[in-house]
């Protein structure tokens, strides 16, 4: 299905919850309101015309230092979805404020979201509501901070941890 028609379907279903849509370089994107994101993902997965059965990527972007986006939410959680039967893709984004960095989890829909969301928590500090086991994935447990945030300097050193039992 053509990317713009996917966006149309989403708009039909979630009229007010779609904050903005865009299509740049054949990538179709829809920014969804946080309250509707769980429903939107479920709709994307179960609707037979869309049937996005594969969550190829779940990541986040920290827009702290992005010029021209000071009034918008600091983080954006990005979902890349792909449909095997229809061979089409879509990108869904959710804006997340810094002081209320919680997003509903997608674990119930795609089990791979378990690890992707753990990585987002590890790197950005965005919590996922309903996640069974939200702990760090890539960094060690004693690490303080969330490294991929823009205000975390790249070569900040933390004390070396010793051998655990």
């Amino acid at each position: 299905m053509d990317g713009s028609r996917i966006i149309e379907r989403l708009r039909e279903r979630f009229a007010t919850a779609i904050v903005e849509t865009g299509s740049q370089w054949r990538d179709h994107t829809a920014v969804v309101d946080r309250a509707a994101v769980r429903e939107a993902l479920e709709f994307c997965k179960t609707n037979p015309e869309l049937s996005f059965d594969m969550l190829t990527d779940l990541t986040a972007v920290d827009y702290l230092k992005f010029p021209g986006r000071e009034d918008r939410p600091r983080f954006e959680v990005v979902y890349h979805l792909y449909s095997l039967p229809h061979n089409h893709r879509v990108r869904l984004k959710v804006g997340v404020e810094e002081d209320d960095a919680v997003v509903p989890t997608a674990v119930g829909l795609w089990p791979i979201a378990n690890w992707f969301e753990r990585e987002v928590w590890d790197m950005f500090g965005i919590r996922f509501d309903g996640h069974p086991n939200l702990r760090r994935l890539l960094m060690y447990e004693e690490f303080e901070g969330h490294p991929l945030r823009k205000d975390y300097p790249i070569n900040r050193r933390q004390p070396l941890i010793g051998p655990r039992n």
Binding site: M54, T56, D57, V61, I112, N114, W115, L148, I154
Partner: protein, 455 residues
């Protein structure tokens, strides 16, 4: 009082206390854990009841490092992502940035990218099968596979200058054109590789022990494979013929004929068969690409003698620039494949992105300015504001690069979608219910590459 069973006596359990599961820790440093990963297996006798996988031991901050430097600086970092098939990562990242910029590649470059990617893919599968066969005890297979990989690495070295961390891809093209006589070298290397694959087939494919250890082991149904968004050989071994090269063709894959091998078993043996078949298909792709590649061998026709670079630069400095750009110069052998004619054939004709060839840089003021502007801090490659996601078929599955640009010369965010993260998230499903001896072959067939997994 009930008679104590032998088991209870040995494990020291009285009646009523039940039995406890044994926790066995595979790794993080373990010979069978390629790279480093920790599998905390809870055993009930020999059966794995729970397998908890812990990753992150090779996290090297790829995504954060990419944000530090200009777009071209990220290319050496992408080499070290999937370090057994580094060319695919290079080209994937370059393609994502080219998508942001809206650049079209030259046709020859597309074929070169296909050729080098397929050679890289063969190297990856050779390493995977070799290592997992070694862990099953078939050490000979490992030695044969690495021997074949050396032939291919000699090819890669011929083109890029390095064996492993090649940094060959560039935004807008590749670093240099293929050297002379490359097609003949490839033919010879493939002949040797095919012999090795034949030997390995005879050693492994019908081998009773191999079949007993691999068939029915590590099974993950097709629905679960899709639910865990696993792509690549693992998905094709479950019967789903999804290949990014077929579904969304890029570079020259729509012009080159190839098959996508699938199997039905969804177990380790099926994955092994898929990988072996894919290697043969990759070799066919390269051979067909050589048949179709435009531009032919590099034969720079020129009239007049080529001049020494020093003399060339002197003439430019003295202002004798009349017709200077047309004169060929003898470049150093280190710059083989980078003379002007060759470079223009493989790089997009886009001044904002592609470094000019050395003759133009040193022979004209426009070339020098162009070179300067591309390398100067704050200038350089500056894609428009936006984001792009470009999926390529890595050796393990869909390798995607998601690049967000804020209009400056540094990427705002580079995200690598690792193809081997989903199989590891699903690894506990493959291990649970199996025996402890099946952990090693299952893990080997998943082909985890630490650089890509932990980034």
């Amino acid at each position: 009082m009930a008679q104590r069973t032998t088991r209870e006596m040995y494990l020291g359990e009285g009646s009523g206390t039940g039995s406890r599961h044994l926790q066995v820790n595979f790794g993080p440093q373990h010979p069978a854990m390629h790279g480093i990963i920790r599998i905390l297996a809870e055993l009930d006798g020999e059966t794995v009841v729970r397998g908890d996988v812990e990753i992150g031991y090779l996290h090297r901050a790829f995504e954060k490092e990419c944000e530090v430097g200009p777009y071209a600086t990220a290319i050496p970092f992408t080499d070290r992502l999937n370090y057994v098939s580094p060319l695919i990562n290079n080209f994937g990242y370059a393609s994502a940035v080219e998508k942001l910029l809206g650049i079209d590649l030259t046709e020859r470059c597309e074929y070169i990218r296909v050729i080098m990617s397929e050679i890289s893919r063969i190297c990856d599968h050779l390493t995977c099968i070799g290592a997992s066969a070694m862990e099953l005890g078939a050490v000979t297979v490992f030695l044969y596979m690495i021997k074949a990989r050396e032939f291919l690495w000699e090819l890669v070295e011929d083109v890029t200058g390095a064996r492993l961390t090649i940094s060959y891809g560039r935004v807008g093209g590749v670093k240099a054109d293929l050297p002379e006589g490359f097609a003949a070298k490839v033919q010879k290397a493939f002949k040797e590789t095919r012999e090795v694959l034949d030997e390995v087939h005879r050693l492994l494919t019908g081998n009773r022990i191999f079949i007993d250890r691999m068939v029915g082991v590590g099974v993950l149904s097709a629905e679960e494979t899709v639910a865990y968004s696993i792509t690549g050989p693992l998905l094709r071994a479950a019967g789903v013929g999804y290949d990014v090269r077929r579904a969304q063709p890029y570079w020259a894959y729509d012009r080159v004929e190839f098959e996508v091998p699938t199997q039905k078993g969804a177990d380790n043996y099926a994955r092994y068969l898929v990988r072996m078949a894919e290697m043969e298909q990759s070799m066919r792709i390269v051979e067909r690409a050589f048949a179709d590649i435009p531009g032919g061998p590099i034969n720079v026709d020129f009239e007049g003698r080529p001049i020494d670079p020093g003399a060339y630069v002197d003439r430019g400095k003295q202002g004798k620039t009349d017709g200077l750009l047309l004169i060929p110069i003898t470049l150093s052998p280190n710059l083989q494949g980078q003379n002007r004619a060759a470079l223009e054939r493989v790089n997009a004709a886009d001044k904002r992105v592609v470094l000019p060839p050395k003759e133009t840089t040193y022979g004209s003021i426009e070339g020098l300015m162009n070179h300067f502007m591309l390398l100067m801090d704050g200038y350089g490659i500056r894609p428009p504001v936006g984001e792009a996601y470009f999926p390529v078929e890595g050796a393990n599955g869909e390798l995607g690069f998601y690049v967000v640009s804020d209009g400056s010369d540094r990427p705002y965010r580079v995200r690598c979608r690792p193809p081997c993260l989903p199989p590891l998230a699903a690894l506990h499903r493959m291990l649970e219910g199996g025996m402890v001896a099946d952990v090693v072959p299952t893990f080997g067939s998943v082909n985890m590459i630490g650089g890509e997994l932990d980034r």
